[in-house]
């Protein structure tokens, strides 16, 4: 049987979650591999969430927010964008292929685009195979504070690299 990856999606309430609902209303079929978690704004997506998802067994993480300039909260998604750059470095530091994390913009009217994104990412992850974690990361899965400390340290360190 073919490997079916599980993707954890963080969708902002105003644009992307609405876009995903629209895919439903319009009956735009797509792969059943995404498990969505609603957040108010993509700006809420803490790097810790992403790492937590991998630690708990996700094969990929998809963060969706409003298009730059359209964020319901004025600029939350610009902050997400900056944070996601750091996140790329962060997951690599933990030995996770960067292609397993994606940040995409999906507006409230882009049901079709949302569906295609899920399909695309599912196919890509099928090729990458199951995500295997280093034991140290896996061990952090149930240690909430340890995980966020590790992430904060890593973000602070890589933050200096990008801003320098």
């Amino acid at each position: 049987m073919e490997f079916e990856p599980i993707i954890v999606g963080f969708l902002c309430n105003w644009c992307s979650y609405t876009g995903a609902d629209l895919a439903g209303t319009a009956r735009i079929k797509h792969r059943p591999n995404l498990r969505t978690i609603r957040v108010m704004c993509s700006g809420r997506v803490d790097p810790t969430f992403v790492l937590k998802a991998f630690a708990a067994g996700a094969d990929g993480v998809l963060v969706c927010g409003c298009h730059p300039g359209d964020c319901h909260y004025i600029e939350g998604n610009y902050k997400t964008m900056r944070r996601m750059e750091l996140l790329g470095q962060l997951v690599r530091a933990y030995g996770i292929d960067e292609r397993r994390v994606r940040l995409e913009w999906v507006s409230a009217s882009e049901g079709e685009r949302f569906a295609r994104l899920v399909d695309e990412m599912t196919l890509e992850l099928r090729q990458l195979g199951p995500c295997k974690l280093r034991p140290t990361v896996a061990a952090l899965a149930n240690d909430f504070d340890g995980l966020s400390r590790a992430v904060t340290a890593q973000v602070a360190a890589s933050g200096e690299v990008t801003h320098g």
Partner: protein
């Protein structure tokens, strides 16, 4: 972990909408085995009265203190189920929903995979709800004034309704006069009353109302704040820039007409006797039904669906042009009984009250109807010197299958409606969204047709989609009623989700201060601590994710709640779980 949780789990079949793909019984069985779940039931329609009563009864009789409903999108029925909790005296925030319709049964075909996904989403909801806390709704005041953007028939109607109910209104119109597109029309279909009369009455009432402030040549440049408490910056050309306190905003910016030069074969811009519907309206209003060089036309050809119902331009129907074309047939025949009128149409859409009757009456006036294929508009060329007409319109007639040359002295193009070119700017300014065609999106097409994703911002008229005057006015009055309902209460319940800073954990680094898009965070230099002003905070969570000390909590979106959800969606399905 909450050991004292008694969770009620309810899964909705939604008729067959959910149950035909998701095995609801199986989801129920698996969820019933989770810690803390006191009862798990499947029901045909959870949102119906018996469905809600089931929840209320179980809370009372079984002592439930948490509820999970797996059904449609929370954007649809979260308020409904929250009320069911409240009815049983349980805090409404102790509810969590799993979206297994829009984001599951409607988009997946494979029952096995869809059921597995529904189980995961329900599992996550159950894990999350254990960490929900009772929250109190927060009350904020609701400013009585309303800002109406656009002074067409829709905006005028909203403004007059509100002002005559003694509420202050600012009517902001970009142009130098009120009336919008209706001001460009002559008679209106189907009852042939004069557009001018319809408008004059409304404008007179608007101008007579002491509560109504008409701001012409004005634009909305910025909108800050939130429902009940907006601050609108309005700039008037050659006048002052005002900062207005308003409780609600109603967007009525209407439409613009399709640019007919885009369909080259119609000859618009090349032949002066090819004119648009608006240009014909103008001639009718002036009582000069003639060709460019002042002759009486003997042949008039009317082309339907110009820019509409054509995948290359706009896929939708503009809804008023068929009726308007019939109206032209009628007006032309009454003015020039000898003229021959030909209607080149795709389908004749004369729906609505009085529509079919109008079609029957006008078609009895010996108008000739020829049908062309969608996406294959007729081709206009100059007539030969010997012909007794100025132009020839070549049409691939669908019913006869023949290519027909229709003589014409005047060709009228029924240009469709399209979203205004600057609609995107308006949408961004007021925080609403547009569909693919640029029309503003309502909260729900059937249940909340004039509300938007931004609370306190409403839409009415053609800015939402093409419609005729009766429908525009109906929406306008609906929007006015929505506003009045809130104004009457004078206050609004604001969602209890906002950020909170724990002063004991805050290190005073001030990182969050400038991050907040709403400047809701203030810094106390003496205490060296930051704090959130809950009335300003919109709960985006940006500061929460950024605080290096983990001092900020997003109420109802706490780290713990989201962590539980992450574990919940993965517990059964992940490749490492078994």
């Amino acid at each position: 972990m909450k050991d004292d949780c008694r969770i009620g789990f309810y899964i909705c079949n939604c008729g067959t909408n959910i149950a035909k793909v998701v095995d609801a019984e199986q989801v129920c069985e698996r969820i019933a085995g989770l810690p803390g779940v006191a009862c798990a039931r499947a029901y045909k329609y959870m949102c119906s009265n018996p469905g809600q009563e089931m929840i209320t009864r179980d809370i009372r009789e079984r002592g439930l203190n948490r509820v999970v409903v797996a059904a449609c999108s929370p954007r649809m029925h979260e308020p409904t189920f929250r009320k069911a909790l409240e009815a049983a005296g349980l805090n409404p925030y102790l509810l969590e929903m799993a979206n297994i319709r829009e984001q599951c049964s409607w988009v997946h075909d494979d029952p096995r995979a869809a059921t597995a996904k529904a189980c995961d989403l329900a599992h996550a909801a159950v894990r999350r709800v254990r960490y929900h806390q009772p929250l109190e709704k927060v009350e904020a005041s609701y400013a009585p004034a309303t800002l109406v953007l656009g002074g067409g028939i829709a905006g005028l109607t909203v403004a007059v309704e509100l002002a005559e109910a003694s509420q202050p209104v600012y009517l902001v119109e970009r142009e130098g006069k009120l009336g919008g597109n209706v001001g460009r029309a002559d008679l209106t279909a189907p009852y042939l009353d004069s557009a001018r009369d319809i408008l004059a009455e409304k404008i007179a009432r608007a101008e007579a109302s002491p509560k109504l402030d008409i701001l012409l040549r004005s634009e909305l440049v910025e909108l800050r704040g939130f429902v009940g408490n907006f601050r609108a910056t309005v700039r008037t050309t050659g006048g002052p820039t005002r900062d207005l306190a308003v409780g609600a905003v109603v967007v009525c910016t209407g439409y613009q007409e399709f640019d007919a030069t885009r369909i080259e074969r119609l000859g618009y811009g090349r032949f002066p006797d090819v004119i648009t519907s608006f240009e014909l309206e103008r001639r009718l209003r002036m009582g000069r039904l003639e060709t460019d060089d002042g002759r009486i036309p003997r042949y008039v050809s009317i082309v339907h669906c110009v820019g509409s119902r054509n995948p290359r331009y706009h896929p939708y129907c503009s809804r008023v042009c068929c009726m308007t074309a019939l109206k032209y047939g009628h007006e032309i025949k009454s003015a020039l009984p000898a003229a021959m009128v030909t209607d080149l149409y795709v389908d004749m859409l004369s729906f609505g009250k009085g529509g079919e009757d109008f079609y029957r009456r006008t078609s009895e006036l010996k108008t000739m109807f020829l049908m062309y294929e969608k996406g294959d508009p007729p081709r206009v060329r100059a007539a030969e010197p010997g012909d007794d007409c100025g132009l020839l319109v070549q049409v691939n007639e669908r019913l006869s299958g023949e290519v027909i040359d229709v003589p014409a002295d005047l060709v009228v193009l029924m240009v469709g409606m399209e979203a205004r070119a600057d609609g995107g700017d308006v949408a961004r300014t007021v925080g609403i969204s547009q569909d693919r065609q640029g029309w503003f999106i309502e909260s729900h097409p059937k249940l909340a047709p004039v509300s938007t994703a931004t609370e306190g911002v409403y839409i009415a008229g053609c800015c939402q989609s093409p419609k005729d005057i009766p429908d525009s006015v109906a929406q306008a009055r609906a929007a006015a009623a929505m506003v009045l309902a809130h104004v009457a209460q004078g206050k609004i319940e604001v969602d209890a989700r906002f950020a909170e800073i724990d002063p004991d954990r805050c290190s005073g680094c001030r990182m969050c201060n400038e991050l907040c898009p709403y400047t809701a965070i203030t810094f106390d230099p003496d205490e060296r601590r930051s704090s959130v002003q809950s009335a300003l905070c919109k709960a985006c969570g940006t500061c929460v994710a950024a605080c290096p000390s983990g001092a900020i909590t997003a109420r109802h979106f706490t780290d713990k709640q989201i962590f539980e959800q992450i574990e919940g969606v993965l517990a059964w399905s992940s490749s490492r779980s078994s």
